[in-house]
Amino acid sequence: MSKRNPVYDFKWCPGCGDFGVKRSIEGALVERSATLSESVEKTAIVAGIGCSGNLVHLQEGPQPFGIHGIHGRTLPIAYGLKSSRPDLNVLVVSGDGDFLSIGAEHIGPQAKRNLDITVVIMDNGVYGLTKGQASPTTELEVVTSTTPYGKLDDPMSPLETYLAAGVGWLASSMSTQVKALQELIVEGMAHPGFSIIHVQSPCTTYNDTYAALKGNEKEGIEPMAFPVPEDHDPADLASAYRLAQGGRIPIGMVYQRPDSVPAHERLRAAQERTGSQEKTVEELFAAMAI
């Protein structure tokens, strides 16, 4: 249910991390709109399939355009959208199943093109919408409906995967830190190039990781999440890899490539360099005249 469309009947479970992400995105769009004096309608949200993708129907406040496509193909849709309309602000929302399993093949090409879009991943470590199967980020030995002996596959390390794919701007966040996440999204959208904000967004029904992320000092449980150390230099790729490889989840700015020329600027520069000229159909036919 949303204020815009009261008959829309989709609901997230109480406590779902995606509520926090939704608020962060709503705040980020309003903030961007005010800062740049740009209407929210200049933003298009490309949503994947899964609980996270339904965010596009639930947005409150000024309405962006949305496209809720097919499973795993947020990035290809965003590729065609942004390449056709570089003037638009394109935001992808997706989950660990949609983005890192069926859709993983698309990360490398967009990173290498440096497509100027921002991706917000809601990672709950499980397939929620299909009721609790293992996802690439489900931890080892976790029992789900498709892992009756506990998960046998090693969990994927998303941050490491992104860095290896060449993602030039990478942040890690938690759905509970609504304001901090909002600021990261605003910064990601301002970055001229491909940016990913990977968000821990727990599933209270099938994989409730709130406690594990926060830890419990009294019970001696070390939190999975930890703030990125203040002395971390986001321009240092080796240092970013070390953060990503520690087996825990750093929260904050992980990596930002110092030089970032987005795809559409590369094209424009190449066309200027080679002096490519538009030819009319008449001229093209004339070149074939007998």
């Binding site: 496509g69 097919i70 390449s83 000229q277 007998i290």
Partner: protein, 570 residues
Amino acid sequence: MSKNLVVRFAGEGGQGVVGGSEILAAAAAAVGYHVLTFSTFPSQIKGGPAWGQARISTDEILSSGDDLDVLVALNRYAYDHNVEELSEQGVVVYNSEEFEVDEGGRAIGLPADQMARDSGNPRAANMVVIGAVAQLAGFPLEHLETFITARFTRGRPGDDKIIEGNISALHMGAEEAAKTGFSLESLDSPVPSPDERVLIKGFEAAGLGAIAAGLETFIGYPISPATTMLTYMEEFLHGEGKFVGQSSSEIESIAALVGGGFSGKKIMTSTAGPGLSLMGEGLGLAWMAEIPLVVVDVQRGGPATGLPTKTEQSDLLMAMNPGHGDMSVPVIAPGSIEEAFWGAIEAVNWSERYQGPVIMLSEASIAERQQDIVKPDLSQVRAESRVVSDGSTGNERYVGDGVAPFPVPGGPGAYVANGSEHDEQGDTTHLPEVHVTQTHRRFKKLELLANGSYEAEQTGASIAVMPWGGSKGSARGAYLELTAGGEDLAWYYTMFLNPLPRELLAELQAKDLVLVPELNYLGQLAQVLRAQGVNAHAVTQYTGLPFKVRDLRDRIAEELRTRSGKLATV
């Protein structure tokens, strides 16, 4: 004197056999002949059996020719596998450095490579052969000299030497052929055409049509035999607000097209069967979310990797129903180079008019065919654009009883373009009544497309021939021979296969029998017609090659003998 010359250059990939046929065709076109080429080659960079064929005529050409006047054989395999298609008076020109033709008869051995080296241009072996062919056919060498001079005058210092070498090679070949005393019936002089003509390939015509229709974005992935269209667009679709890109897969291509179409741009890709298979789900999304886009499928042969470089017409059923669920994707299948141009324009127009995906079914033999055509009258081009929302319907996108105004991102009317079943605002719902209403809306839009043009002749006959796509030319040749021989036979043809033009369908339904020549095993258009109440029967071939006119004529005649008897007894 003769009206026709058919020359086949056969050898292996990388030997320039396709180039040879195209140079001969281009030279002939330059002096006013009509020309049409066909080529076939294996899926490898070098080697494997390949041939290119040029037909040169004083009349308009319908097909690439049944019998060879000249077979140029560059190796033994090429000779063995092509010589049976030589006409009675035909001559073989063969590479005597590779093999010898034992039996007597009309064969000329040329040490073409050695002669090319002697000419001072070692790369001119093709010219030696073309000189010999010209001599045999009584084709004046000065035409070829003019052509060579024009082709190699490129403002570079070495131009003169290259031109001189090529012309010298040409004469050496002609002199060698003259020594044999063989000749063909010489070709009539060309009839000068009052029209402006262009020498053009099928993929170029399709690309130009798309550009004329106002295409703004093209995204494709390399795949035979559709890559030439991608590279053509990379080279020529330029300008403010335009984009051409190479995707990482056909899955990425189709999803990117959905994104680009959603953004408000006119958008297209080119692919072949395997790519179209991968696009099924994305095409469903475009149908469901009502996104205009065009997929050009250049058909090749067979399922899976099949026959990547051969020609076939076996993607029709998939094109109409490329994915799961209820949908019916509009299909336009050009049957000539001219239709590739106009068909591409209509494909873009259709996608804009009904707001959804359109597939243009080309095929290898059309995409790669080089032909002289009358330059299309560009004043006849009508480029349609989708009806854009002015925001007066608020956030409601999927409204009314068919096509609704299209909200363009950045403007008013923000909504969610949704591949899940959805309400007016594009928000997901599974309510039965909404699924019914929206399904009706989506199918109703197809009615806007059922008014395409079609050809109809001798419509009083109770039995009709209706080919589709690239079989049009051969079928037309067969039809003309049959009717000249006294058969009472109607002719129907359209490139608009789904939906069929309303009036055409009504006419076909009234026939006792409709024979459908098509290059596939299943008889795909015949199936489609039968499903719409037409008594259609396919005449099929699935060799990876186009129909020969004679074969088709005989097969149709046979069908008429066997089937018309049965019809009479019904």
